[in-house]
Each structure stands twice: as structure tokens, then as C-alpha cells.
Amino acid sequence: MIENPQDRLPGRREVVRVRNLAKSFGENTVLSDVNLTVLEGTVTAMIGPSGAGKSTVLRCMNLLERPDSGTIEIDGHVIDAERRFSNRELFALRRSAGMVFQHFNLFPHMTVLRNVSLPQQRVLGRSKGEADERAMALLTRMGLADKGEQYPNRCSGGQQQRIAIARALALDPKVMLFDEPTSALDPEVGLEVLEVMKELAASGMTMIVVTHEMSFARSVSEDLIVMADGGIIEQGDPKRIMAEPSHPRTQEFLRAVLQR
């Protein structure tokens, strides 16, 4: 069953609209006709078996992956994959979405502070002083006030992921995209990242989270998307779907992850 989140959470602006998204790598169809809407200030969790296309949807949303067809709209910036678009349009779309990767993807040759402040200077044109100040404020919020002069590889995985979150937040995105942010971390260390994400959700950030953390999906997200075989098979209230999934494939997946 696929519910429109507007029906459950009325009166909120649609910040993200993905329409008729399709992507294949050679013969292999990864996504076909994916449609989704994300409302402002909500957390949307995406779950599903490996290879379902969850990460690809996320990567198509900021054009790290070029879809074969479909449109992506984030905060009013629209890109139609089948039409030519300018770099200006591409960068405008990317600026409105912050992305957090499974493997952090920090810049190892820069200090933690520089990782967070350089993109602000280059992308938003902030001065160094302004960028450093904002970076320190965010690092402090992430509990990393003393790490500014360290290099990323001297930090733990959980710290590196929080640095990556700070780096993305520093550009004031409208939406944060999380691509399995805790999958490369020990469960205990993953917890500190999930805490930061909960705090971020509580502050009203719009978030799309691809995850295998079922309790996060159940307790934090307002909307749940289940993907399988390159398409969305179920969408709606997380607690309802977790309790009584309607699609047989969802039932099978949830049995596998919840009863281990």
C-alpha cells in the first residue's frame, strides 16, 4: 500500500518531489518509475533489502548518479533528467541537499575545521572568518569542539561521521540525505551518530534516511518507504507498516530484520 504523506500530515509544504525516476546500468534495471514526495520538517526512512535501489534513489536526487529519465525537484529547483541542464541548475540543486555517506568521504588532507569551512567559502562565498565561526559552532553542536585542529583519520568512525554531518549542515541545506550513515560503524559508535540525527530531526530538519536501523525508522521517522527490486512497494506510517505490512515482500523483509 502506498500512501501519500499529505493525507496523513496535511498542511506541510512538499520540499522534495521525485517523479517517474528510472535508472539502469547497462542491461541491469536498478530503478523503474519511482515516485516520492517528502514534506518539510519530516523524517522519511527508506528501508528494504540490499540491491533494492535505495541508495541509487538518494544518489539520483543530487545527481551523483544521472537518472535515465524522471524529474527531481528539491526546494523549487527542478531537473529533468532527459533534458539538458546547466551547471548552474545542477549546483543549485546540490546546494539545497546535504548528503552524508556510509564511508563519510571526508577530505583526509585537511583539518576537521577546514573540512567544514572550505565548502562554505567555495560554495556559498562566505569569508574564512565567517566560515570558521559557523564550522566551530556546528562542531560544538556535534560534541566535537576540541577536534577542529585534528585530521579526520585521527578521529573515530563515529566522530568522522558527525564531522561529515557538520560539513553538510554548514551549507544550510533544505534537506539532508543520509545514505546508510551507521552501516560502517560499530553498533555502539553508531548510536552516537543516531543521537545527533535525532537531535537534528527534533530541530525540524527535513531528512531522508536510507537505513537498516529499524528502531530509528520506527521511532524517529514520520514516513516510511519500503523498496524492493528497483521500486517503492510500500509507503506510509512507519508504526503501521512495521506492525502490519501489507505487501508480502515487506512482510518477508521485516521478518528477516526484526526477528534476528
Binding site: 543530487n62 551523483l64 551547471n87 546540490r94 546535504g98 555517506f101 571526508l106 577530505f107 560554495v123 551549507l171
Partner: protein, 217 residues
Amino acid sequence: MTFFTDAAAFLPVLLNGLQVSAILTLLSLLFGLPLAGVLAFGIMSKNRVARLIAIAIVEVGRGAPALVLLQLMYFGLPDVGITLSALASATVALTWTTAAYCAEYLRGGLSAVPAGEIEGSQALGMTTADTLRYIIIPQGWRIALPSLMGFAVILFQATSLAYTVTVQEMMSQAYSLGASTFKYLTVFVLAGLLYAVISIPATWLSVLLEKRMARHL
């Protein structure tokens, strides 16, 4: 101890030659390294014509022995109306060799920067030029640096080939000293030592630098 008295007499002449060897090395690096950078980007270019030209220059530069290029520049070019001085033709030939080898080292370094970091930069909305300038080049050239320094040592030794095109570098000085005194053993031992005195510490330096630069990685 005739070795030491002979060596003391030869040393000033050889040191003059060494100076020319050093100048030839530095000139080849000065022109060759920037050209190597351009060629490295040429090889990786999406533009077919640029890529083919760059590959052709690099493959000839690596495929042909430096000695052949030296002879070509000095004895060959006058046939088509281009006459260069001995030092100039040696500089052109060794610049070509330098550019070709170093282009491959640089290309290897640049493409060793993890794809994830490049995606990280793109996802932040950084332009391609900024990604190159702040992420790919600063890390790529560090990865290439040990190979580049190793090449510089080999290049310094390869300048000895320039004696075949009458450049007055150390090898040619040693040769004429040997021819006039017949003390070939002394003079070539001394020349070999002088090459080693520069090359060995340069190798140590490259290892040291490699360790220093890998500190954060």
C-alpha cells in the same frame, strides 16, 4: 698515494662539469614538470583529440631511449633547418623524457585519489574546478611525489648521456681528462663518486619527504 694527488688535480675540472650536469637536470625539470602536468590532464581528458596528442607525446617520450632523443635533437633537427646549441638540444630531449615519465606518475597520483572524496566534494556543490584544485591535485601530487623524486635522481644520472652531443657536463670532462692523462680508472671512479654523492642523499631526502607527507593519510 697517486690516487689522491691525481684526484685533487681532476676535482676542479669535474666540479665544473658537475655544475653543467646540475643545470641540465634543473632545466629539464623546470620545463618538464609543468609540461608533465599538462600531459597528465591531456591523457585524462574527455576530448579525444587532446587525449590522443597527449598519449602520443608520452608514449614516444617513454618508448624512445633518452640517448636516441638526444641524438635526434642535436644531429637530426639540423636536417629540417633547426639548429640548437648542444645544451639547448640536450635540454629539449631530456625535457621530453621528463615530461613523458612524470605525466604518467602524476596521472597515477591523481587517479589514486579515492572516488568517494570526489563524490563528497560534488555532493557539497563544489565545482569541478574546485574539486580539482582543493581535493584532487593537493592529494594526487603528494601520491606522485616519491616517484617524481626518484625520477629526478635518474634524470641527474641520465644527463651523463649528454656527453654524446658535446655538452660539457661531468662525463665529458671525465672523458677528456682520461684521454689526456690515461688515468681512466682514477677519473671514472672519481666521477662515479661525485654522481653518488648527489644521488644517494637525494634518495634519502625523497624517502624522508614521503614519510612526512603521509603523516595525515
